[in-house]
């Protein structure tokens, strides 16, 4: 059985693979192809978790292969196995070399505008469970034709967890740097190997031959820290794996590149060495690497301690109800889960209360929700009533609601709750020049540093509103529903926006436009008044009528 290494260890490629292979038996579905395995469809690039995409037979065979070659391989007899592994790594490198060559030939024939990246710097921020990657690229056009698009490539394992990709072109020198946001769209490159997905950045003005441009790219990954061990007890701290490549995956030739990885704590159990690589405190440095060909990939694993709250909202339904009488009522239903390493065995309140620095370090208790200013009638409750542990701080800029779930959340524990509040309408509802009204409200989850797996926003428009349309700065699923509330006759139009994998960077405003005739505002009061009126009229007529048969 694989024993957790206590000291920090350098993992050579061979050892690392061995580690992965042993962990493979534990992790079950997480299957890993051997690095240099010759596979006809995927020449080099073999990312980690694509058990879903790998045909079963190849996988089986690969596993059998590796087992045949690694007979008797055990963690215990490390020394005995060393010469064998060095032999194998030599074999692997030769495969890689062959694959590189073949790829070089292909890429040369396919990409029409000849671009190359002069300098690439990547900073990966692993401090929370939301991974932010800042990429600075200096792209030069070396081909003959001007290029209007620049492509970014991501391994399929990352694409599934990619929440947002933003790009901006930078101008000017250090002091007067200005950023121009650019459009990013997912595309398919025919020559992308191994199911790598591409995003194209559309430049404002095409890049002419010999010119260069500096791009700043931010992309965010959620659910990409894999806890290992999967289950921890209360006294242990949480260790996670981060999988990536030491070399930036790119459809272009990269001349010079460096990767910095910032971990949340200086406790790094292990990390893959790809020379030159180095670690100082909480920062890992891979590179500089010179002259790497397009689609180069060198898998790395960083195994480190991350005790930040892994707060994931599995499902969030935000209901925004507009009343033209002057208020906006927001109801948010949360299904919260701690997505880190699962809690195992006992939960001792004693340990939790008396030794907070050693016990339950990966658990969390507080959540901070940032609400708009001038919020009123805030409530925080669940199915069984009000939850009494919350604090609201309001000022003119924003309101902060600090909430505590009923119990501290350990790995795998869940909680559901509802937050509701009212807002003044004039801050959020405006009239556009063409006479339509629009709601301007913030998308995303008000809770700080949380990932929302599935976010549903329901904008309930007042009864009688017509032609609703939503304007959201990113792709969402939209549909129209009808809901009924008190005294509704035709029902209220509900604009439903759905998005998966939402991170705090999605908290940007969106608009819902609709036509509304103010006469509908008085429909319901009129209805009530007329009902009472007719009732009294009926009473009066009844009292004044003589309907007896006998006179």
């Amino acid at each position: 059985m694989f024993v957790q290494p206590k000291r920090e260890k350098e993992i050579k490629p061979s050892q690392e693979r061995q580690q992965r292979n042993t962990s493979l038996q534990q992790l079950g579905p997480k299957n890993i192809l051997p690095l240099g395995y010759k596979c006809p469809r995927w020449p080099i690039f073999s990312p980690y978790s694509f058990s879903l995409k790998t045909p079963r037979s190849t996988l089986e065979q690969s596993r059998r292969d590796s087992r045949v070659r690694q007979t008797g391989e055990r963690r215990d007899d490390d020394a005995m196995e060393a010469p064998q592994s060095s032999l194998r790594s030599a074999l692997v490198f030769s495969f890689i070399a062959i694959a590189y060559l073949s790829l070089l030939v292909r890429s040369a024939t396919l990409s029409s505008p000849e671009l190359q990246i002069l300098n690439a710097e990547r900073r990966i921020d692993l401090t929370s469970h939301i991974i932010r990657v800042y990429l600075t690229l200096k792209v030069e056009n070396t081909g003959a034709a001007p290029a209007s698009e620049i492509f970014l490539a991501f391994p399929p394992a990352q694409v599934d967890h990619l929440a947002i990709v933003k790009a901006a072109a930078t101008f000017g020198k250090k002091k007067k740097k200005s950023y121009l946001p650019l459009d990013v769209n997912p595309t398919d490159l025919p020559d992308a190997p191994n199911g790598a997905k591409c995003f194209s950045i559309s430049l404002v003005s095409p890049l002419k031959t010999g010119e260069s441009v500096t791009l700043e790219v931010l992309y965010i990954l959620s659910h990409s820290l894999e806890p290992f061990p999967i289950e921890i007890s209360q006294s242990e701290s949480q260790l996670v794996y981060y999988h990536d490549s030491a070399i930036i995956l790119s459809p272009y030739h990269i001349k010079h590149q460096t990767t910095f990885i910032k971990t949340s704590s200086p406790k790094v159990e292990s990390f893959t060495r790809v020379e030159p690589s180095d670690r100082v405190g909480t920062e890992l440095k891979y590179g500089p690497y010179e002259d790497r060909h397009s689609y180069s990939f060198s898998p790395i694993i960083v195994h480190f301690e991350n005790n930040n709250p892994f707060a994931v909202v599995e499902e969030l339904v935000r209901e925004v109800e507009i009343s033209h009488w002057g208020s906006l009522q927001v109801t948010e239903r949360y299904k919260l889960v701690h997505a880190g390493a699962r809690h195992k065995g006992v939960f001792s309140r004693l340990e939790y209360q008396h030794r907070p620095q050693f016990s339950g370090v990966s658990s969390f208790k507080h959540l901070l929700a940032t609400l708009p200013p001038k919020v009123h009638s805030v409530y925080y409750r669940d199915e069984i009533g009000n939850i009494s542990s919350s604090h609201l701080r309001t000022n003119s800029k924003k309101s902060e609601l600090e909430i505590e779930p009923r119990y501290p959340l350990f790995g795998g524990w869940k909680a559901t709750f509802v937050i509701g509040y009212g807002l003044p309408l004039q801050d959020f509802l405006f009239e556009s020049p063409d006479g339509r009204r629009y709601l301007n409200f913030s998308f995303g989850c008000p809770l700080a540093e949380t990932v929302v797996d599935k976010l549903t926003i329901k904008v309930v428009l007042p009864e009688g509103s017509k032609n609703p349309s939503a304007v959201v700065p990113f792709a969402v699923d939209q549909r129209i529903e009808t809901s009924f509330s008190y005294l509704d006759v035709v029902g209220r139009t509900v604009v439903v926006l759905e998005k998966e994998n939402v991170v705090p960077e999605h908290n940007s405003p969106f608009q819902v436009y609709y036509n509304f005739n103010p006469i509908f505002m008085v429909a319901e009061p009129l209805m009530l008044a007329s009902v009472f009126f007719f009732f009294f009229i009926a009473c009066v007529t009844y009292l004044h009528m003589d309907i007896s048969i006998r006179k």
């Binding site: 007890s233 209360q234 065995g345 006992v346 309140r349 199915e383 069984i384 009923r406 119990y407 524990w413």
Partner: protein, 517 residues
């Protein structure tokens, strides 16, 4: 159906028969009526005899003559504690204390005797009914706290009578002595005031009339008139007697009575807000820096509902059955409406057994989690340790191997170092005080005001899975059964090793803190 309902049923049937007979009499001619009476009477007698015979046979077959435990315990207050501990265990079935009378009916407690005397002064049918009503309800409320509800309306009626008599006397004497008012206006005032009194009396009387058997309206009116006439006759007589009361005294007493009423209203509002409306599930305490909320019950129930499997079963004492079902949405073993005494006794037995036996009982019931309520850390008195003696009694009533004296030291229930070993080794003690000593180093129980008897112990068959913020609710999980190992005698050493290995892998952290220490 039990025997205590027969009286009311029979009266109900009898009234209807009589009413029906009168109705028929009105319809038929006298001759026809006689024929009908003989016909119906002969057939009816036979039917009645048959029904009565069946009823008597049914009643006679039961050992308590068809009387239910509850009504028997009303007639004989010691009955429940002798034979049905489960009825006696409910706190609202206990006899009330004097403070609880004062708390619940407050001023009325002093006005009721005055009301009774007032009822005796002119003893009429109505007032004798009221006297009977108050006497029986006082007796019932003396047997059980919950029957204070029966006492409340009777006490209200009687103190109303007392107050009205007192007002009558005081205002009468004031009016008589006041020199400034002319004769004319005096009459007016007296008329209106007496009319007020009369209508008030009528109100009371109509109530009573309705409560006593529903009399015919014509009769009622007649009676009222008669009473009014009586009142009018008595009035001058009374006024003459009232002359003795001096003016100042009556004015002051009137004011005092009004003040008394005002204070009673204040008390009622306070009692309704604090005593009757306070939820028993969210507890609050007032501290120097504001209100402190103890929301432990809902914390535990929310944890159960979110972090356990949907079909897991939770065992707890039956008090928490409904709460667990409603708030945690989990199946319970016994709840507040469990009629099966043996079932409750099974849980009581498990709680009062040592760990292994308890584990076997719970395992046979397919229980996954055990919930106990423990108030020792924050001083919450109605916790499971204080209820524990009833679990022993109820369990012992069905399973004789649980004996109450085993848990008592010289007839005293205690959990300190003087407690009996049976007590210190039972499941309830262990689940409540597991690792409690490590909170303050001594294990001082704030409810029992004593240090606990057994401080350091481990659990072998249960593991702690959740404890709420103030330790008021503690949840334990049954450990999975160990694998059976065959051939114990032959390879005792290997068995031992395997056993150890399996226990460490299957249940890590079951109180084993540091193997190197």
């Amino acid at each position: 159906m039990t025997s205590e309902h027969f009286a009311s049923f029979l009266v109900f049937i009898f009234i209807h028969v009589v009413a029906f007979a009168y109705y028929i009499k009105g319809l038929l001619s006298p001759k026809m009526f006689k024929v009908a009476v003989t016909l119906v009477a002969s057939v009816g007698m036979v039917l009645c005899c048959a029904v009565v015979a069946v009823l008597i046979a049914m009643v006679a077959s039961s050992p308590t003559k068809g009387w239910s435990g509850r009504s028997l315990s009303l007639l004989d207050p010691t009955y429940a504690s002798k034979y049905i501990p489960i009825i006696a265990s409910v706190s609202e079935h206990q006899p009330p204390t004097w403070p609880s009378y004062f708390m619940d009916i407050n001023v009325l407690a002093f006005l009721v005797p005055a009301g009774i005397t007032a009822c005796f002064l002119p003893l009429s049918d109505a007032s004798s009914f009221v006297i009977l009503y108050i006497v029986t309800s006082v007796y019932f409320s003396g047997v059980m706290v919950r029957l204070m509800l029966v006492l409340a309306p009777a006490a209200c009626i009687l103190s109303g009578i007392a107050l009205s008599e007192a007002f009558d006397v005081f205002t009468g004497s004031i009016k008589f002595q006041l020199p400034g008012i002319s004769r004319n206006s005096q009459i007016d005032v007296r008329d209106t005031s007496s009319a007020g009194v009369v209508t008030q009396d009528d109100g009371v009387k109509t109530d009573k009339n309705e409560e006593s058997l529903k009399e015919r309206p014509s009769k009622k009116n007649k009676k009222k008139e008669r009473e009014n006439a009586e009142k009018a006759l008595i009035k001058p007589l009374l006024e003459k007697r009232l002359l003795v009361l001096p003016l100042e005294a009556s004015v002051i007493s009137l004011l005092l009575l009004v003040l008394l009423g005002a204070f009673y209203v204040v008390h009622c509002v306070w009692a309704a807000a604090e005593a009757y409306s306070a939820p028993s599930i969210v507890l609050t305490s007032h501290t120097n820096n504001g209100l402190h909320v103890f929301d432990d019950f809902r914390e535990a129930y929310a944890w159960l509902s979110h972090n356990t499997e949907v079909d897991d079963k939770v065992a707890s004492w039956w008090d928490y059955g409904y709460q667990t079902t409603a708030m945690a949405n989990r199946t319970v073993i016994v709840d507040n409406n469990t009629w099966n005494n043996t079932h409750i006794a099974t849980v009581g037995t498990a709680m009062s057994s040592p760990e292994k036996a308890a584990w076997e009982i719970f395992h046979s019931l397919d229980v996954k989690y055990v919930l106990v309520v423990f108030g020792g850390l924050v001083g919450y008195p109605s916790d499971d340790i204080n209820k524990f003696l009833w679990m022993v009694r109820i369990g012992g009533g069905v399973f004789p191997h649980i004996k109450e004296p085993d848990y008592l030291r010289d007839g005293q229930y205690r959990i300190d170092s003087q407690a009996t070993p049976t007590m210190l080794n039972c499941l309830m003690y262990k689940l409540c005080y597991y690792r409690f000593v490590e909170t303050d180093g001594q294990g001082f129980d704030r409810v029992r005001k004593t240090e606990i008897g057994k401080k350091h112990f481990k659990l072998t068959h249960f593991e702690e899975v959740f404890t709420t913020h103030h330790w008021m609710v503690r949840l334990y999980k049954l450990k999975p059964p160990k694998n059976r190992i065959r051939g114990k005698t032959k390879k005792s050493k290997t068995v031992c090793v395997i056993n150890k290995a399996s226990s460490t892998t299957s249940s890590k952290g079951s109180g084993k803190r540091n193997p190197w220490q």
